[in-house]
Amino acid sequence: MKKVVDFIKPAAILLIVAAVVALVLGLVDMMTRDRIEAIAQETKTNAMKAVLDASSYEQLTLDNAPADVNEVYAAEGGGWVVQVTETGSQGSITLMVGVSPDLACTGISVTDSSETAGLGAIASQQSTAGENFRSQFVGQTGTVAVTKDGGTINALTGATITSRAISTGVTSALALCETLG
């Protein structure tokens, strides 16, 4: 018959290994946490500056914001930056939309997406094609839609769903700002 120690020994060793790994992970997390948070904050600020340049942004708390709006910031000197999340073709797309005081879109920036590489992913890329696509949204007002749906936005080739999702996001950001101001 097996002794009790034969059962306890493997469990004890596993416990020790797991404890050591957990300790090391804790240390690495302590070292990197501040940096990771700073980078996330900086990425966000850069995205906001790219869509609507201002010296500072003040976050607004809304009671009745639509479900796709995450955060709204009032920019110093007029206008808003709205962060919206829409459903794309491969997952959710999060974008920053800049809105001027006269309710026109001042620019968009895709901060998080998992669209198809080479097709929908162009919407978030720093390439000529990506810039061209995003610059179409500048100056848009009211309801924004792709040409297929009767709007003026030329959808990315092979990525109508992505383009539609972004148009929806811009429309809902514009609609929200209309109620604000």
């Binding site: 596993l14 090391v24 990197t32 940096r35 590489a117 080479g118 000529t128």
Partner: protein, 226 residues
């Protein structure tokens, strides 16, 4: 076991992707630009080497019944460390590779080498095995990236070369050197099924070359005997 033999095994005769055929999921998913390929390859190389060394160092005290659990804990630990470090120091790579860095935990290259090699061999040999198998993986990734990026998007060195601020960049903004005019690439190759096609072709070429060289060796031995 000498270093040269281990190197040939890692790169060619026992290449993790093309011969052992493990770790294919990430290989197909991320090999769309050179930046991703090199980043992923080096991440796997580092994690594999660290895991091999640690597992080999504690191989005598690992009880057989719980060895897989211990392997997974060690691997998950190193993967999380690399994931955090990438997030903190190379955020562009971290966002380009996305979920595939955490997924290295379940990458069978690492647990495969732990089970087949480092749990039996000395620390030094395991270290070399990690480096050489990692190099083999990186080479295949880079090759896949070069083929898919050139034929699919028409560029070379996407994410690394030809950046906005300098020629060689590490922030993933490089546009790559354009070889084929925009719009003329076979975009399908960048999609997942293009990954299957490329990998299939590479494996076929590899198997063909290996068989040829084996036949040649067998013939030579026969001649020597006669």
């Amino acid at each position: 076991m000498n270093a040269k033999k281990q190197l040939t095994e890692g790169l060619i005769t026992n290449n993790p992707v093309l011969v052992q055929q493990i770790g294919l999921c990430a290989t197909m998913a991320i090999s769309t630009s050179l930046f991703n390929g090199i980043g992923m390859g080096l991440s796997v190389l580092i994690i594999l080497t660290c895991c091999n060394v640690v597992i080999s160092a504690i191989r005598k005290i690992i009880p057989g019944q719980v060895r897989l659990a211990i392997f997974v804990v060690v691997i998950a630990g190193f993967v999380t460390i690399v994931d955090l470090l990438l997030k903190a120091f190379i955020p562009a790579l971290s966002s380009a590779l996305g979920v595939f860095i955490p997924l290295i935990v379940v990458n069978c290259i690492i647990i495969g080498r732990a089970e087949a090699f480092s749990s039996k061999e000395s620390v030094f040999l395991s270290f070399r095995d990690g480096v050489f198998q990692g190099l083999g993986y990186t080479c295949v990734l880079v090759l896949m990236c070069l083929i898919r990026e050139l034929l699919g998007s028409g560029t070379i060195g996407g994410g690394i070369l030809n950046g906005a601020s300098s020629f060689v960049t590490l922030d993933g903004t490089g546009a790559g050197i354009r070889i084929i005019p925009e719009g003329f690439g076979a975009g399908a190759l960048v999609l997942p099924f293009g990954g299957f096609l490329t990998l299939g072709c590479l494996m076929a070429v590899m198997q063909f070359a290996l068989r040829k060289s084996n036949e040649k060796k067998a013939r030579k031995e026969k001649e020597v005997k006669e």
